[in-house]
């Protein structure tokens, strides 16, 4: 019963460093998403994917990149980390025809 697994759960980065947040789902979902959650704010969509090889930008894509080489994996790449990217990041997946999102536990990223 793994569901959506995100790693790492916590990370501290220095300004200008790069890193990749990993996301894997074992439910054979076609749709996958990356959101960020800032304090007192709702979730903002960074990128989404409707299937392997297909990705598209969400509301706040600047400073991030994604890839979807397999159905299971949807990594989020942060290039040249900035303090504005300090946030909690959530990966989610869904079948795409129900709209029910299954979320990972979140990854808390701090950029100092």
């Amino acid at each position: 019963n793994a569901g959506v697994t995100q790693t790492p759960k916590f990370r501290i980065l220095k300004i200008g460093q790069s890193m990749t947040l990993q996301c894997t789902q074992d439910m054979n979902h076609n749709y996958m998403y990356w959101y960020r959650q800032d304090p007192g704010m709702g979730l903002k969509l960074i990128y989404y994917s409707v299937g392997a090889g297909i990705t598209d930008k969400g509301e706040v894509p600047n400073g991030y990149n994604v890839s979807r080489s397999t159905t299971e994996d949807f990594p989020l790449r942060l290039e040249l980390a900035a303090p504005s990217q300090t946030s909690v990041y959530f990966c989610a997946s869904s079948y795409g025809y129900t709209g029910e999102l299954f979320f990972g536990e979140g990854s808390r990223l701090t950029v100092l």
């Binding site: 749709y31 998403y33 959101y35 007192g40 704010m41 709702g42 979730l43 903002k44 969509l45 989404y48 409707v50 598209d56 969400g58 509301e59 909690v88 959530f90 989610a92 869904s94 795409g96 025809y97 129900t98 709209g99 029910e100 999102l101 299954f102 979320f103 990972g104 536990e105 979140g106």
Partner: protein, 114 residues
Amino acid sequence: AQKVTQAQTEISVVEKEDVTLDCVYETRDTTYYLFWYKQPPSGELVFLIRRNSFDEQNEISGRYSWNFQKSTSSFNFTITASQVVDSAVYFCALSEKDFNKFYFGSGTKLNVKP
């Protein structure tokens, strides 16, 4: 543009009280979906309900009920006889018909005190 507004930032109630969480949305689409998600202190978001724009019937699930009114663009959530375990942040969300993008409100933090 799609937008979801949850004007109540934080609500505190005493156990067994009823509480209603408000959600107002904006969209120009005729087909859309509305959702409620719960985020307990553990942090993981959990799906509660989905409603499509053509189904205005209210829904009840145990102590939870939802009131969808297109005339006022609202999708409110009521918890009856609240319990401490209901303490969480609740998010209302709106999706386009193809479920590519979801737009979340800023959330309402519910504190249920014993």
